[in-house]
């Protein structure tokens, strides 16, 4: 193998699994260390800079970081990253003085944002300090988009939304709330320099089964129903409820039903339990509230009598693989099952809908009715129009919407300045030694064996009575400290310097994870097998040095390294050093990255 080029920013970025997995690349270990140091405000600001909605995401994020967390590979469970983020938000105190205020000078450019959800608000936050006039349209009277309309308040209290959305509005958004955009053509004729579409995926998919129309009064589309609940238009549901679907919306529907009079609430899913789209923790939360999840049952018919819903008829299926290895659901031959109920909530998916975008204005759509959007620049085929969030590539989640928003804001800024939007600013990368003394480091390198801590919950009897009572209490400062200590500090990198190495084997002997090997070089496949502990996780890199004095190379498997720094402590010559990797994502206004790059 060739020596690893650690100067390439991606190399060490990949080692920080959580940060690499996060669409917004939030520096997770950095803010977790700040939480452990009780510097909650600083931890919050790092998050705010990167993902804009720390308090909201700390309760609702899809957490792509957690399955990626290295801790999950060296023991049972990842660090509770998401809930630690909430700790930063809960205990930060007043940070308003640290937020950018209104721009003192206008740059004369006007941008229209369609929809006031997370993608648009991110664009607004990034562009406002640069002096843009940002006009935000939304059909609802209050900003927040799906964050406000679809996430139940027992998971995300309204005041958290008001606070974090408010930070952005206070930066000088020109609100046009309560105004639905019905024609892109008309919007294009207005005096805007660029338009951003962040209108989400607002249409819930329906189930056209026999009985759908006859029993329509008691069959509701999940996301529409949730938003009616959220805005206070619906306050009750029947005693027996069936929720169809296995995604996070279905989980929100069933838990909301439990709080509006639903006593027997059942979730019924076509696929198996493992294949459900809902996050594992959301399934757990639903089951904790005594909601059974029934799998491998396909709805066949809405059974009704005298124009009233009686129940839903299901066919039982099983999963089988056909000769091409595709997974199919085939009937088991058992008798169909009728589940009696008073109401049905249909949560079988969401779709994008752009009836308001005309065909003749240069915005091309693909055969699935989705706009053709550049994945890097977020630009549509009409150079003036940008997309982001669910509106761009279909339903994803809040953190992706934020990531899209950042990229779109960079593009819009460059577009308005007449620059090439393909020339993307690079992130700033820095490595700083953490050595303070002969065996002292400026990070806590003592590995704790604690298992993941559970977030305390509100008493179930109380939680189920009131839809506004938040179920999760969040970590207190003590639990937060303990959980934060589980973080392995993967951003403190093991950096190897060949000329200093005397090949004494001290690092090999001390490494608790058998990560380090000194051996003859070879092709990657061969080398991976010859390491002290074979490196079988191909998604993780091997760090390879240039040839040493004996002609051997140092090969380190990054996979399960604890970043405990013992290799560096045992190294007599300082050939190993622990260096903190800082990756500052380029946002609008952070031109340092470009400057460094051009130098």
């Amino acid at each position: 193998m060739k020596p690893t080029e650690i100067a390439v920013p991606d190399y060490f970025h990949k080692v920080v699994d959580c940060q690499w997995a996060c669409p917004a690349h939030t520096p997770v270990p950095e803010y977790i260390r700040l939480i452990a140091a009780q510097r909650y405000g600083d931890a919050y600001m790092i998050n705010w800079q990167s993902n804009v909605f720390p308090g909201i995401l700390g309760r609702t994020c899809d957490r792509p970081c957690e399955p990626a967390c290295r801790r999950g590979r060296v023991e049972e469970e990842p660090v509770a990253i998401c809930r630690l983020k909430r700790v930063a938000a809960d205990y930060k105190g007043d940070i308003t003085a640290r937020l950018p205020g209104r721009a003192t000078e206008r740059n004369g450019k006007r941008i229209a944002l369609v929809g006031a959800g997370p993608a648009s608000l991110t664009v607004a936050r990034d562009l406002l300090p640069e002096g843009y006039e940002v006009v935000v349209y939304d059909a609802d009277r209050r900003a927040g988009g799906m964050i406000r309309s679809q996430i139940p308040h027992f998971r995300l209290p309204e005041q958290v939304i008001d606070e974090e959305v408010g930070y952005i509005l206070a930066m000088g958004v020109t609100p046009r709330f309560g105004e639905r955009i019905d024609s892109m053509k008309a919007l294009l004729t207005e005096d805007y320099d660029a338009i951003f579409v962040g209108s989400g995926a607002p249409r819930g998919r329906d189930l056209e089964l026999p009985g759908r129309h006859e029993a329509a009064a008691n069959i509701h589309i999940g996301i529409d129903w949730l938003s009616s609940v959220s805005f206070g238009h619906i306050e009750k549901i029947g005693r027996r409820v069936v929720v169809l679907g296995g995604g996070n919306t279905a989980m929100d529907c069933c838990r909301t039903s439990r709080r509006l009079g639903g006593e027997q609430v059942t979730v019924v899913v076509r696929s198996g339990f493992e294949e459900m789209k809902a996050s594992p923790w959301e399934k757990e939360d639903a089951m904790h509230e005594d909601i059974p999840i029934l799998n491998f049952m396909v709805p066949k018919e809405f059974v009704h009598a005298n124009c009233r819903l009686v129940g839903v008829l299901f066919e039982k299926v099983k999963a089988e693989r056909d000769e091409k290895g595709r997974r199919n659901l085939v009937p088991t031959g058992e008798a169909d099952q009728l589940i009696e109920c008073d109401d049905v909530l249909v949560a079988v998916g969401q779709e994008n809908a752009f009836p308001w975008i005309e065909q003749d204005i240069g915005i091309a759509f693909d055969k699935w009715g989705m706009p053709i959007v550049d994945k890097e620049t977020m630009q549509s085929t009409n150079p003036k129009v940008f997309f982001g969030g669910d509106a761009a590539f279909g339903p994803k989640n809040i953190i992706w919407a934020v990531a899209h928003g950042h990229e779109a804001a960079i593009s819009i800024d460059k577009f308005c300045k007449g620059e090439d939007i393909r020339d993307r600013p690079r992130p700033i990368v820095n490595l700083t030694s953490q050595k303070m003394g002969i065996h002292e480091w400026s990070y806590d390198n003592d590995i704790v064996n604690d298992q993941r801590y559970k977030v305390p919950l509100k008493d179930k009897a109380i939680a189920l009575k009131d839809i506004r009572v938040e179920v999760e209490l969040g970590f207190d400062d003590k639990l937060a400290f303990k959980e934060a200590e589980r973080c392995l500090n993967c951003d403190v990198q093991t950096v190897f310097s060949e000329p200093l190495c005397i090949e004494c084997d001290a690092c090999v002997d001390i490494c608790p994870m058998d990560c380090i090997t000194f051996t003859a070089n070879g092709e990657e496949e061969d080398l991976r097998r010859r390491l002290t502990a074979p490196a079988l996780n191909l998604t993780q890199e091997i760090y390879v040095s240039a040839p040493l004095k004996t002609g051997r190379i140092m090969a380190k498997d990054e996979d399960v390294c604890l970043h405990c720094g013992l290799c560096a402590e045992r190294c007599p010559t300082g050939a190993w050093d622990m260096q903190r990797f800082i990756l500052d994502m380029a946002h609008v206004g952070s031109q340092v990255g470009l400057a460094c790059q051009n130098r």
Binding site: I502, C504, A506, D509, L562, E569, T573
Partner: protein
């Protein structure tokens, strides 16, 4: 050194031996020696050897004297028996322990100060008596704990860290061991575990006095230019006569090697040592030839390593003295009269 204990988390796919242990189960507490000390590599090699031999840790007794090397038994086999004796007196304590209970595997760990100076007599007599043991000298040619004076194994003409040349003749422990009748004599280097681990395994399986002289650079006081015990010097002058495979049990010996390149030695316990010859006409069974070869190469400034001499048929102290097989503490009441009888004898002497 480090203040931290080594984390107990380990690689998820660590191999286990026949007892279900990983090599981590053979570790001791974390080393307090200087970072990069060769002795720590020898500890790691002992851990690896015991792991590979499926040794139950409670069947091993590790004994040592005083010095950096004699501290190391704390850093391996944390679940084994241990005895940290007086300076230079490890061989006597080991001999006594062995006579009292021959069922344990005895691992004597010593250094060049402990064995070549204050304990030279003890070293000599334990070998000539044929005590069944593994005697490892972690040899760095320097007194590390007292800040770097030459030890008795420092080569004449080698330079100290302060620039002083050594004017004394060195004690060559390998030649002494052969002269004194050790039946397994090897030299290795802490920086070459591929050679060292099989040698330790073979020594453990050997019946009789097994001696390993292991050059172990002192990174703090003897790893500079002019030293003959530094990583660089030993690597440059390492003249390995063979390397070793240790084959447990009576597995068939495959013969797909060039004739004359392999020497197979069947040990008393049934294991086979397969010596891959690097020096073509070197015969590890021939003591006189081995001693000549050694003198010749050493005169040329080479550090000869490998399994230098082995007598697989050797006896041991128990065989010579015709002692009872049962450990003394398991003998019945007639031979172990107990405390009451002892008190009576003592009272009679007052």
């Amino acid at each position: 050194m480090t203040y931290l204990a080594k984390p107990t988390l380990h690689h998820p796919n660590l191999p286990t031996n026949k007892l279900g242990f990983t090599h981590r189960d053979y570790e001791g507490s974390v080393s307090t020696l200087c970072a990069g000390c060769g002795h720590d590599s020898i500890s790691a090699a002992i851990i690896q050897a015991c792991f590979e031999l499926d040794l139950p840790p409670h069947r091993v007794a590790k004994l040592s004297g005083i010095g950096c090397s004699s501290k190391t038994p704390t850093y391996f086999l944390g679940a084994s028996h241990g005895f940290n004796s007086v300076h230079g007196r490890m061989p006597s304590v080991l001999t006594g322990a062995n006579l009292a209970n021959r069922d344990l595997i005895y691992l004597g760990v010593s250094g060049d100060g402990d064995s070549a100076s204050i304990g030279l007599g003890q070293f000599a007599h334990s070998l000539r008596r044929g005590v069944n043991m593994v005697y490892i000298v972690e040899n760095n040619g320097v007194y590390g704990l007292t800040k770097g004076q030459f030890s008795a194994t420092a080569d004449k003409g080698s330079k100290s860290k302060r620039g002083i040349l050594n004017s004394d003749e060195p004690i060559d422990m390998i030649s002494m061991a052969m002269n004194l009748g050790a039946s397994f004599v090897a030299r290795s280097f802490s920086g070459d575990k591929k050679q060292l681990v099989p040698l330790i395994k073979a020594a453990i399986q050997h019946r009789g006095a097994a001696f390993i002289d292991c050059v172990s650079p002192c990174v703090a006081f003897n790893n500079h230019i002019g030293s003959t015990k530094s990583f660089d010097y030993v690597r440059e002058h390492n003249d390995a006569v063979n390397f070793l495979d240790v084959i447990s049990g009576r597995e068939p010996i495959t013969t797909d090697y060039e004739p004359g390149t392999i020497q197979s030695v069947r040990q008393h316990d049934g294991s086979t040592l397969r010596l891959h010859k690097l020096a073509a006409d070197y015969d590890a069974r021939d003591r006189i030839a081995a001693m000549n070869f050694l003198q010749e190469r050493q005169a040329a400034g080479e550090v000869v390593t490998g399994l230098l001499y082995v007598d697989p048929e050797a006896g041991d102290l128990h065989a010579y003295l015709n002692t009872v097989e049962t450990p003394l503490n398991e003998l019945d009441a007639v031979l172990v009269p107990g405390k009451a009888a002892l008190d009576k004898i003592n009272a009679g002497l007052r």
